[in-house]
């Protein structure tokens, strides 16, 4: 490549070098951020002593990321500078104290201190809203639960919550409180997205609701599994242990994925666990409430709630009686005995498929009759399904074509049948009966096809949306069919994840940060709402996307879980 030409003439100018340019202000002088552009870490440490919460921004002046994030930091600082000390330190300048003491592999680095506790490194998204949220968490690591409604609010959050009960009737602070407080800060170190919430109860009456009776007891709230009380007799009562215990035992039925931009196996690791439903929603970490997120949480909870755990919710049913709580809708109907739900109904719903030929010269065709067999009729009585559902046939065809190769080998004059499971639907399996016929019989086939078109015609309003040419041999590539609105309304998905082998993992992505993944999965740019849903199955190399014209609401999400066909990809 480059053979470095070394100049031969002896020339003094050759040896001229120049030290790096002297550092200059990185933040403007009017900025609420104190800028130690010569890397004076010692000064920075000194002024930190007087501040309750300190924010350190270590930068390198040549670093593109540092330059981009600078504006975000200024924004946060303008909002919080009365409560938080914002300090920027040039940690590149080689004559500065910072460079001599710290050894960073990347820039910028953000550290937070809560008095003497720290540093807590922030590794989340580098935008103002997320940073501000995190700073606020460091400012107030514990939420004060002063009333019953606050408690309900705290418990209804989809993110895991840890509650401590401490009696503040005597000064000084009750024993263990400081440890609990520190564990809340500690959790921010480990869990930089701050998904675990920490709350403190001081009122005995409220504590009894959970129920906590002894001052100093700590409680981990869980929605699906049994909630836990910190086992003080087994584990030492230290901040690290409490934090570790909460992290290990927290429930994770809904994950935020926030790729940080650096090299990472995040998606690889999560998607290899199995089929995943990726929901893209715009998320503002500073918002007061998240109605859309609440909807999604409800669906996800129902999906994950297995029978064995349904009755094990100590605090919530009790609360429900007295309060019209938002938790109400989370409680599924468990009155119907399980056996009834699994009643097997069988009804005819078939379609004939002529397999595409490998060799067009071939004089024979493999013809299959594809039938949907409902094994588990979920609330059939409620749903009032017509006998043969167009969508089901579509789904059956999807599954069928994925298995198509197994039917190509069939060269037989007798009818051979095989059963296979449908994708993502635990309710049904399909039967395909295939045989080889001569071309002469083709006329028979086409008449068959018209016969089977009749049920389709009944659903013409839905069928219109699909670009299926019924007169040609249908094939998966030819179809581009979206879920027609609210067709399988009221599908019950309670406990679905326990009843099917193919469990969907649910992931949330902030479309403000990660919209590029939605685009890669086929999200349309024309639509302004940045909401998008897709199922990605890495193992089967398939992905399905939801019609973007549909709002992401509970009913449509329910459909996604219950395996209604959505656009194949």
């Amino acid at each position: 490549r480059h053979i470095g030409p070394s100049a031969s003439p002896v020339d003094r100018a050759k040896d001229v070098t120049m030290p790096a340019k002297l550092p200059v202000n990185f933040f403007s002088s009017g900025s609420p951020v104190t800028d130690f552009f010569q890397g004076q870490l010692d000064y920075a440490e000194r002024i930190r002593q007087d501040s309750e919460v300190t924010f350190y921004f270590f930068y390198a002046p040549w670093c593109g990321q540092s330059i981009t994030v600078r504006e975000e930091i200024e924004q946060v600082a303008r909002r919080l500078s009365d409560q938080v000390l914002f300090v920027a330190i040039n940690c590149w300048w080689n004559q500065g104290k910072c460079r001599k003491q710290k050894h960073f592999f990347y820039f910028p680095v953000i550290y937070l201190y809560h008095r003497r506790f720290g540093p807590i490194e922030y590794k989340g998204p580098m935008n103002a809203a997320y940073i501000e949220k995190f700073v606020r968490r460091v400012m107030t690591p514990l939420l004060y639960i002063s009333s019953r409604s606050k408690l309900l609010e705290f418990l209804s959050d989809y993110e895991p919550g840890v509650l401590g009960y401490f009696e503040f009737n005597a000064s000084p602070q009750p024993p263990g409180y400081l440890t609990f407080f520190t564990s809340a800060l500690h959790s921010l170190k480990k869990d930089y997205l701050g998904t675990i919430h920490f709350g403190v109860i001081t009122n005995q009456q409220i504590a009894k609701e959970i129920p906590l009776t002894h001052s100093g007891s700590i409680y981990l709230h869980r929605h699906v599994n049994t909630s836990l009380i910190y086992p003080r007799e087994v584990m030492n009562y230290t901040a690290e242990n409490i934090c570790k215990w909460a992290l290990e035992n927290r429930e994770a039925f809904i994950h935020w994925l926030r790729p940080h931009g650096g090299k990472s196996l995040l998606l690889n690791n999560e998607l290899k666990k199995g089929p995943a439903l990726l929901l893209f929603i715009p998320f503002n970490p500073l918002a007061e409430s998240y109605p859309l997120l609440d909807e999604i949480t409800k669906v996800a909870l129902e999906y994950n709630r297995c029978n064995k755990n349904q009755a094990t919710e100590p605090a919530v049913p009790h609360l429900k009686e007295t309060d019209s709580s938002p938790l109400e809708s989370r409680m599924p109907d468990v009155h119907t005995p399980l056996a009834e739900t699994f009643s097997i109904t069988k009804y005819p719903c078939c379609n004939t498929v002529v397999l595409p030929q490998w060799y067009s010269i071939s004089r024979t065709h493999n013809v299959c009759e594809l039938c949907v067999n409902q094994t588990v009729g979920v609330k059939q009585s409620k749903v009032n399904l017509p006998q043969c559902n167009f969508l089901e046939i579509e789904a059956a065809l999807d599954s069928f074509y994925l298995k198509e190769h197994t039917f190509f080998q069939v060269v037989s004059n007798t009818i051979e049948c095989s059963n296979f499971l449908s994708y993502y639907s635990p309710f049904s399996y399909y039967t395909a009966c295939c045989r080889t016929i001569n071309r002469g019989l083709m006329s028979f086939i086409s008449s068959e096809k018209t016969f089977f078109q009749t049920p389709k015609a009944a659903f013409s309003s839905h069928a219109k949306k699909c670009k299926v040419d019924t007169h040609s041999i249908p094939h998966i590539e030819d179809r581009n069919c979206l879920i027609p609105g609210s067709h399988i309304g009221g599908t019950n998905i309670t406990g679905l994840s326990c009843r099917t082998n193919k469990t969907l993992n649910l992931y949330l992505l902030d479309s403000n940060l990660s919209w590029i993944y939605a685009e890669r999965l086929g999200a349309s740019q024309a639509i302004h709402t940045k909401e998008f849903a897709a199922i990605v199955d890495l193992q089967d190399e398939a992905h399905y996307i939801m019609d973007q014209n549909q709002a992401l609401i509970k009913s449509t999400l329910g459909k996604v879980f219950s395996g209604a066909p959505i656009t194949g990809g």
Binding site: R1, H2, I3, G4, P5, S6, A7, S8, P9, D11, A13, K14, D15, V16, T17, M18, P19, A20, K21, A60, P61, W62, C63, G64, Q65, I67, W92, N94, F104, F105, Y106, F107, P259, H260, G261, G262, K263, S264, L265, L266, L267, N268, L271, S514, I516, Y517, R520, L521, V536, L538, E541, H543
Partner: protein, 583 residues
């Protein structure tokens, strides 16, 4: 980097290449430069002009600008290296008028019959490659061309003349060239037979282009012979060292890796294969690729190993190795390319540049190798990968590079080499590849509509006296000095020359002339044509009898020269996300 060549290169005397050139001071680039608010591409443009204008003002007619002392120095023998090497960048930046002027100056002719020792490798990639590229692009830039263009022309004749001066270096028992040749007397008696691997295997792109354009197969033949000699001398585990004795075919330096001393050999196997649609070259590369992956790759890093034993000799990442992800993208291996690229990018983020050597286990620079002379390789890879993936991370690297170069190395008189990345001390040099390559690749990364990125949707139809040719349809192959070659021209002239010879042969037969030297050339050429046509038609292996000896019996479904489709997970492999092999 090729150590054997570098010392000798300096021997080129001051008066090696004479030519007169008067410039009226600072070149005016109008409103385009200096306006940094018009996106990163404009920022890159103003970077270029800051360096270019300072060169013209302070250093011309010396080879290189010395940015700290604001004067010039000769590294090439007053070849006006900066001016010549940056001429194609000018044109890619869209400055046609300045390009024309420099091309006209080049056309005035240079006397190559001079008693100087020149590096065969450097002369080829910079002089021959640069002339060929300027020749092929000159029509598009509005330079008046002669009737036989692109198969004849003054720049092509100059390229041929220079290349002929290099041919004596190839007259060795093995066919592998000496590192240095005297332009007047050929190889000096007592010349060292030790050449770096890259110095042996970096000719096929220029030489094959030259053969196809001029019709004289001697250039392509010597280049191929040298490539085959290296291939024959690879170790049992399929690796090559970095220096070889070209007379005795003995490896002198047995460190195997992808960087210094070897790099452009691998690069030219791939680029040669694409340019000539040659499966043999590609299959050589793919076998090397496999051995490299087996023995030198650790967790997406590539280390240096002993070429016979495969034991790690140097756990070091070299700045020069950063071309590798770009090369992998050319064979369609985007997945591995991105993973390695992201590793290299972390090194950039640590220092604001790539140190010449980076000790991987220690995570720090290596002593005496802490400099960053504004090399292009990582940016080059980013450009290729961005074409393939549109991954925004690659633009981010480009943006980091612009910030770093401007914040760290910009001085009043240009851009200075970073002597030490630990403290960003600057050196009094601005290497010629900064203008010729670094800026060019940066600009191409940020300019998606550049004609260089042409995907075949537009082209020129050129009428030659022998028929129509389609040119400029895209798929440009960059030589290792970032000089683009239009592969369509090779096809165009080959056809023409064949016809010409047919006529000549008929004439000869008619007059019952004896077999001439040219006639034997014709035969060899015809043979090769037969093979290449078969290859380019992408026939499956059924009866590909000719060139592919060992492949003959093996069933091969996917043609070597096609890229396999990308894995399903590549959809989501953006913004740093990588996926592990499914195997």
């Amino acid at each position: 980097m090729c150590a054997a060549g570098s010392a000798l290169l300096a021997r080129i005397t001051r008066d090696a290449f004479h030519f007169r050139f008067h410039l009226g001071g600072n070149f005016q680039h109008g409103s385009l430069a200096g306006n940094s608010t018009r996106g990163p591409a404009e920022r890159v443009k103003s970077m270029f002009y800051h360096a270019y204008n300072n060169y013209l003002e302070n250093a011309f007619p010396y080879d290189e600008l010395r940015p700290l002392t604001c004067d010039g120095q000769d590294t090439w023998g007053r070849y006006c290296a900066d001016l010549r090497f940056s001429v194609l960048t000018l044109w890619i930046l869209g400055n046609v008028s300045e390009f024309q002027r420099v091309v006209n100056v080049l056309q005035e002719g240079v006397d190559f019959d001079i008693d100087v020792n020149a590096s065969v490798f450097e002369t080829n990639i910079r002089v021959v490659g640069g002339l060929l590229s300027a020749h092929l692009l000159s029509k598009r830039a509005g330079v008046e061309v002669e009737a036989g263009w692109p198969c004849s022309g003054p720049l092509l004749r100059m390229a041929e003349e220079v290349a002929r001066k290099l041919l004596p270096a190839f007259w060795t028992p093995t066919g592998m060239p000496y590192g240095t040749v005297n332009l007047l007397h050929g190889v000096n008696p007592g010349e060292t037979p030790v050449t770096c691997t890259a110095g042996v295997g970096t000719f096929i792109v220029e030489f094959a282009t030259l053969s196809h354009l001029t019709g004289d197969p001697v250039f392509e033949d010597v280049a191929r012979k040298a490539l085959k000699a290296l291939w024959k001398n690879r170790s049992e585990i399929g690796l090559v060292g970095n220096h070889i004795d070209v007379a005795a075919a003995k490896w002198v330096a047995q460190d195997a890796g992808i960087g210094a001393g070897v790099d452009s050999y691998f690069e030219y196997l791939v680029k040669g294969a694409i340019l000539l649609q040659d499966e043999e070259l590609m299959s050589m590369f793919l076998k090397y690729n496999k051995a490299i992956r087996n023995y030198t790759k650790f967790d997406d890093w590539y280390l240096w190993v002993q070429m016979y034993k495969g034991t790690v000799s140097m756990p070091v990442f070299q700045s020069l190795e950063a071309y590798w992800p770009g090369l992998q993208s050319l064979i369609g291996d985007i997945d591995h390319a991105m993973r390695t690229f992201l590793n290299y990018y972390t090194v950039w983020k640590q220092f604001g540049g790539l140190p010449e050597f980076y000790n991987i286990p220690q995570g720090y620079t290596v002593e005496k190798r802490e400099g960053y002379p504004l090399r292009p390789e990582l940016i080059e890879s980013a450009m290729y990968l961005y074409r393939a993936t549109r991954n925004p991370t690659l633009l981010e690297l480009g943006r980091d590079a612009v910030e770093s170069i401007e914040k760290i190395s910009k001085v009043d008189c240009g851009f200075a080499t970073i002597k030490d990345l630990r403290d960003h001390r600057l050196d009094n040099r601005m290497e010629s590849f900064f203008l010729a390559e670094t800026v060019k690749y940066l600009y191409l990364l940020f300019d998606p509509d550049n004609f260089i990125h042409n995907n075949g949707s537009n082209f020129d139809v050129v009428l030659t006296p022998y028929g129509e040719c389609i040119l400029g349809a895209g798929g440009y192959i960059f030589n290792t000095e970032a000089h683009p070659i239009d592969p369509a021209a090779l096809h165009c002239c080959r056809k023409r020359k064949e016809e010409q010879w047919e006529v000549e042969d008929l004439m000869r037969e008619f007059y019952s002339l004896k077999r001439s030297k040219k006639f034997t050339f014709k035969q060899t050429l015809d043979q090769r044509d037969g093979e290449t046509q078969k290859d380019s038609a992408e026939t499956t292996s059924e009866d590909n009898g000719g060139g592919m000896n060992s492949e003959k019996n093996r069933k091969r479904r996917i043609p070597l020269l096609s890229c396999s489709s990308q894995p399903f997970n590549s959809k989501l492999a953006v913004l740093g996300q990588v996926f592990l092999d499914n195997t």
